[in-house]
Amino acid sequence: MKIMNCPLNGPRNISEFVYGGEVKPMPDMVNCSDKEWAEYVFYYDNTIRIVQEWWFHSPSGYWFIAERHTASDEILKTYDPSEIFKERIDFEVKAKPAQEVVS
């Protein structure tokens, strides 16, 4: 049985966890282009090396980040997302609100 170390609950069976995708910067969703948003949602590095990934401990509903090698499946480190995401980012609305069309 493969064990993952949950930063909140300690070592647990891997079947309790759900993979949540690569950690990647989120574009400004209000002002980015469709292409940029599609890249963020659908495109992945999907590479062979140690990567940063989102993982979810399902029983406790807790999201965290793991560093794992995508070929050897070795989990090197797990930590709370607050170690990376230290401050809140508010995206500003730059585009003008859509004007009502008067016919």
Partner: protein, 415 residues
């Protein structure tokens, strides 16, 4: 003893000297019109159709390992076309039609065996989805019916009609469902292609793709650099890695997929049977072994290791379906690496690099599409980038315009 056998027994030279399946390896040439990365079913099929229909024979197939040694040898050899979307059904129906003629075309037995495929529904929602798939499939010329529990019992008498306390409500009976010897498909295509002048270079790994002004000019391999007119990438399991060499990022995540096979038993199971709720599919091979597989691993990995968790849950489902299998012994188990797209459809056609063509994202549905994939990719390459209608919906940029082709409901075992 036949006289000819005695005659050749006494002679020094082998009677079929000029009829070997594959020519002896040669050095790489400096330039090829087409370089195909990946010597699996899709790669060699593309080369075959290019040589056969389009007269293009200055082709090199570069294979890192050996012919058909990747996912072509690791799939569970299911051929079917009972998909959900019209785009998918049209594509796979034509593939099944091509498969039927392959043995004749190659003059080489691919052991195509049209045994039908049965998918079990355990919920009303699944029955509704099966009804839709029956209609779509029939509309595009496939043979699919919705059958009731009584008919299922007659078709598969050994099946437990109440597996895991989930009664079988109906079945999607795909009469065209079939199986074939997957290695033979790759060998047949390779033989046909090399006879027409295509070069197959095994143990030749592409380490870099050389691009200039958004055009591919050549590839670097472990045996030297070759120039080329265009490149076709057909590398199931490493699509993102190879595409990255050409600077292309792909909408793919790579997962292992595990399967296994039992010791041989007397023939008891004619159709291929899968259960939509138990995530398991079972079939008996011509040799009597029972092959079963299920969903992909729960998280991405580039590794063909096996895990007890997945094997255990798969076995539990298989035994629910066919309880007598509890007494059988497992003979082999293995895994393949599958490039999954988020809509469960492939990525075929053009890429952001001008003369670099993609045949990727074949997840768990690659083998059944081998002939049509080769045929359409050959058309694409021969026309210099004019995308055939059949594969236009599978272009990579469908993700940029949010026009996915959702086949999730149509995988033999939902992943």
């Amino acid at each position: 003893m036949p006289f000819s056998l005695l005659k050749y027994g006494l002679k020094n030279d082998y009677p079929f000297e000029n009829d070997v399946d594959l020519p002896t390896p040669t050095d790489l040439k400096k330039h090829y019109d087409v370089v195909i990365i990946g010597g699996g079913g899709h790669g060699v099929a593309t080369a075959y159709y290019l040589a056969k229909y389009h007269g293009i024979t200055n082709i090199a197939i570069l294979e890192k390992g050996y012919l058909g040694g990747g996912n072509t040898a690791r799939n569970t050899a299911v051929i079917r076309s009972n998909y959900l979307t019209s785009e998918g059904v049209k594509f796979y129906t034509e593939s099944v039609d091509l498969f039927k003629q392959l043995s004749n075309e190659f003059d080489f037995n691919i052991m195509y065996s049209s045994r039908g495929q049965l998918t079990l529904a355990h919920t009303d929602a699944a029955v509704r989805s099966f009804r839709q798939r029956t209609e779509v499939n029939t509309h595009f010329g496939g043979k699919t019916e919705l059958i009731d529990p009584q008919q299922i019992k007659e078709l598969v008498p050994t099946l437990n009609m109440n597996p895991a306390d989930m009664p079988v409500l109906a079945g999607l009976w795909h009469i065209d469902g079939a199986t074939a010897r997957h290695d033979a498909v790759a060998w047949g295509y390779a033989k046909g292609a090399t006879q027409r002048g295509v070069e197959l270079h095994q143990l030749t790994e592409v380490v870099d793709v050389i691009t200039e002004n958004n055009k591919v000019t050549g590839v670097k391999t472990n045996r030297g650099t070759v120039k080329c007119g265009c490149v076709v990438q057909a590398v199931a399991g490493h699509s993102s890695i190879v595409a990255a060499m050409a600077g292309i990022k792909m909408p793919i995540t790579t997962y292992p997929l595990q399967a296994m096979v039992t010791q041989p038993v007397k023939p008891f199971l004619d159709p291929l049977v899968s259960s939509s709720a138990l995530h398991c599919y079972v079939q008996q091979t011509g040799r009597g072994e029972i092959v079963f597989g299920g969903g992909s691993d729960p998280y991405p990995l580039y590794n063909t290791r096996s895990t007890l968790d997945l094997k255990e849950s798969l076995l539990a489902s298989a035994i629910e379906m066919f309880p007598f299998m509890a007494n059988l012994k497992l003979m082999r188990q293995w895994a393949g690496i599958t490039d999954m797209t988020s809509d469960y459809s492939p990525i075929m056609g053009l890429s952001p690099v001008d003369n670099y063509y993609l045949d990727a994202g074949w997840g768990t549905w690659g083998f059944k599409s081998t002939p049509i994939c080769g045929k359409t990719m050959a058309e694409l390459v021969a026309s210099g980038g004019k995308v055939p209608d059949l594969i236009a919906p599978f272009s990579m940029d469908r993700f940029d315009v949010f026009r996915q082709v959702n086949e999730m409901g149509a995988t033999a075992a939902s992943h």
